[in-house]
């Protein structure tokens, strides 16, 4: 086992379509608000549900605001919120999963039972209950989504780590008297990085679905904050006119989720 490799070998297949795509969306989320032509709350036109034009590339929304601007802001909050909650869920999940696989015994049993309990609540339901209790604000949504997707990540990582823990190089490292942190960070994690990143991608898609669904129901992000789901909801009336105000955010969600899923799927096929 070469420890000095700059990148774990199991990571290389991932350095293709899915990662590039994810990077692209993340970049768009980060620079989106900077390149937006108008302010998100600014009413810029007297026409509502205007069609596409040079002045307003994606037309105007139900109050006469610029759709492109709002779409850029919405994409930003959807991607960043979901990325944050996925990072929390998968970071903690992976850590706990690897610990459970290493320690076994009581720790493993208790953790696994608890996670099974959490997993037995459907995700949209947990989201609704969390919002009903704590109100819907950004921290609540991020934390709720992190808690909802933690058990799934834990399960995947535990299964992956269990098969690695039985390998000889772990035994050798244990015989050398390496610390648990060394085992986790330098021996187990690099060897499961590929599948774990695929899992992270899937959970990110789930998070986008959940957040969009909640916002569409009106219990996700509250105005003046916007995300792709609430943008679709508030412009739903424009459906009758075929306005880009409702079609653009819907398409953005579809591109985000389907694109990433297709990339992950074709990667899975190749392996």
């Amino acid at each position: 086992m070469m420890l000095t490799l700059p990148l774990p070998r199991s990571l290389t297949p991932f350095l293709q379509a899915p990662l590039l795509l994810a990077m692209l969306w993340l970049l768009l989320a980060l620079i989106g608000p900077w390149i937006a032509p108008y302010l998100p709350g600014e009413v810029v036109s007297t026409t509502v549900f205007a069609p596409m034009s040079l002045q307003h590339l994606l037309g105007t929304d139900y109050l006469g605001r610029d759709v492109l601007t709002r779409l850029l802001y919405g994409t930003s909050s959807t991607v960043l919120l979901c990325a944050a909650s996925t990072a929390m869920a998968c970071g903690v999940g992976a850590f706990l999963g690897m610990m459970a696989a290493l320690k076994r015994g009581m720790t493993d049993t208790l953790l696994s039972r608890f996670m099974d309990g959490v997993i037995s609540i459907p995700s949209l339901l947990s989201g609704l209950v969390a919002v009903a209790t704590f109100g819907s604000s950004m921290p609540v949504l991020v934390l709720a989504m992190a808690c909802i997707y933690l058990p799934g990540s834990y399960r995947t990582c535990r299964m992956l780590a269990l098969s690695i823990v039985q390998k000889d190089f772990i035994l050798a490292a244990r015989m050398r008297g390496e610390k648990t942190s060394y085992l986790v960070l330098r021996e187990i994690l690099p060897n499961m990085a590929g599948p774990v990143l695929t899992d992270v991608g899937l959970r990110f898609i789930y998070a986008v679905r959940l957040l969009s669904n909640l916002s569409f129901l009106g219990v996700g992000l509250q105005p003046p904050q916007t995300d792709l789901g609430s943008l679709t909801r508030e412009n739903l009336l424009g459906l009758v006119y075929g306005a880009p105000a409702v079609i653009a955010p819907a398409l953005a969600i579809a591109f985000l989720t389907v694109g990433l899923n297709l990339a992950l799927d074709s990667k899975g096929r190749r392996q």
Binding site: R113, D116, G117, V118, S120, I121, P122, S123, L124, L125, L128, V129, A130, V131, A132, T133, F134, G135, I205, V208, R209, L210, S212, N213, F216, L217, G218, V219, G229, T232, L236, L239, V240, G242, V246, A250, I253, A254, T257, V258, L260, N261, L262, D265
Partner: protein, 318 residues
């Protein structure tokens, strides 16, 4: 062998019961951990401290949490789900009719979605790696990965707005004929069906491919058995149990879809009741709806696991 199976099933049922208790406890304590105060948020900003204190007392919020949990759980056991904070009706009476509506929607959807999904999944497994299979795979992947409300919105756009074929709302109160029944139910059922078929066709394909690429099917092909006979006599008996498992698992996805579909089409079911109660922060109603959903979800996943146990037993016995 059967004794072993019995023990395995008993263990699975036991685990489900533990999960149910976990859910009951979790739902209560999460909804009781309000940072603010239900009484305060119900009465609004202008409430006098006396009014808040009185409401707190009448809602028994001034009692210790454990005592409230005990009386709430005791009420559940007696079938008493408490009173709604907003409409002051008993939760049981509000939930009852709505639940029947939701079950009707779920039942009709299942009736259509299951055969479609099985057919699609089986066909794409038989013709795997052809253009047909790729198309089905990409389509189902799209449906599975977008949020449910996108499918619903798209359905409204195409069928109600562009083609004027169907009403955009499901009003089930004035159903007099088969025509009005079809008009009211076709959109919600089609939307919900899409979501289920997407999930189920993918899982069915996986199960079928697994069996079709097994050595005994290869043997049958080499012996010159006709394709129809292979499917009917060799494959079908081996996939019945795993397919039941797939069915139960996919139907648990109904729950997620039903929340969105009922809200979009204003269908008076239990899921739209729950969304309304979340918006108005009517905690007893939220608790009861959440419990009903979790119980249904647990029932389906338990059923799936028990069927899986049976099929494992059969394979070992054969």
């Amino acid at each position: 062998m059967t004794a072993k199976l019995g023990i395995a099933i008993a263990r699975r049922l036991g685990a489900s019961c533990v999960s149910l208790v976990f859910v009951v406890v979790a739902v209560f304590f999460i909804t009781s951990a309000l940072p603010g105060d239900v009484a305060q948020s119900l009465l609004g900003q202008a409430a006098t401290p006396d009014a808040v204190a009185a409401l707190r007392h009448s809602l028994r919020l001034d009692e210790p949490v454990l005592l409230r949990f005990a009386s709430w759980a005791g009420g559940l056991l007696r079938g008493d789900f408490g009173m709604s904070l907003v409409s002051h009706q008993s939760v049981m009476s509000m939930v009852h009719e709505r639940l029947l509506h939701s079950l009707l929607l779920a039942g009709i959807t299942t009736l259509f979605a299951v055969p479609t999904a099985l057919l699609l999944g089986t066909l794409s497994a038989i013709f795997r790696n052809t253009v047909f299979d790729r198309c089905v795979s990409v389509l189902t992947l799209c449906v599975v990965s977008v949020p449910e409300f996108l499918v619903a919105t798209l359905a409204v756009l195409v069928f109600a707005v562009q083609l004027h074929l169907l009403p955009a709302l499901a009003s089930i109160s004035d159903i007099h004929s088969i025509g009005s029944f079809l008009a009211a139910f076709s959109m919600p059922v089609a939307t919900l069906g899409c979501v289920i078929v997407g999930q189920m066709a993918r899982m069915t394909r996986a199960v079928m491919v697994n069996v079709l690429s097994s050595s005994w099917v290869e043997m049958a092909i080499l012996k010159g058995v006709s394709p129809t006979a292979i499917i009917l006599r060799h494959v079908l008996p081996n996939v019945v149990a795993p397919l039941f498992n797939v069915m139960a698992l996919s139907l648990s996805y109904l729950l997620g879809g039903v929340v969105i579909v009922e809200s979009v089409f204003h269908y008076p079911g239990i899921a739209s009741l729950m969304v309304d109660s979340v918006t108005s922060r009517d905690i007893p109603l939220v608790q009861s709806c959440a419990l009903i959903f979790c119980a249904a979800y647990l029932l389906l996943t338990t059923l799936a696991d028990i069927v899986a146990l049976f099929s494992a037993q059969e394979r070992n016995g054969a």
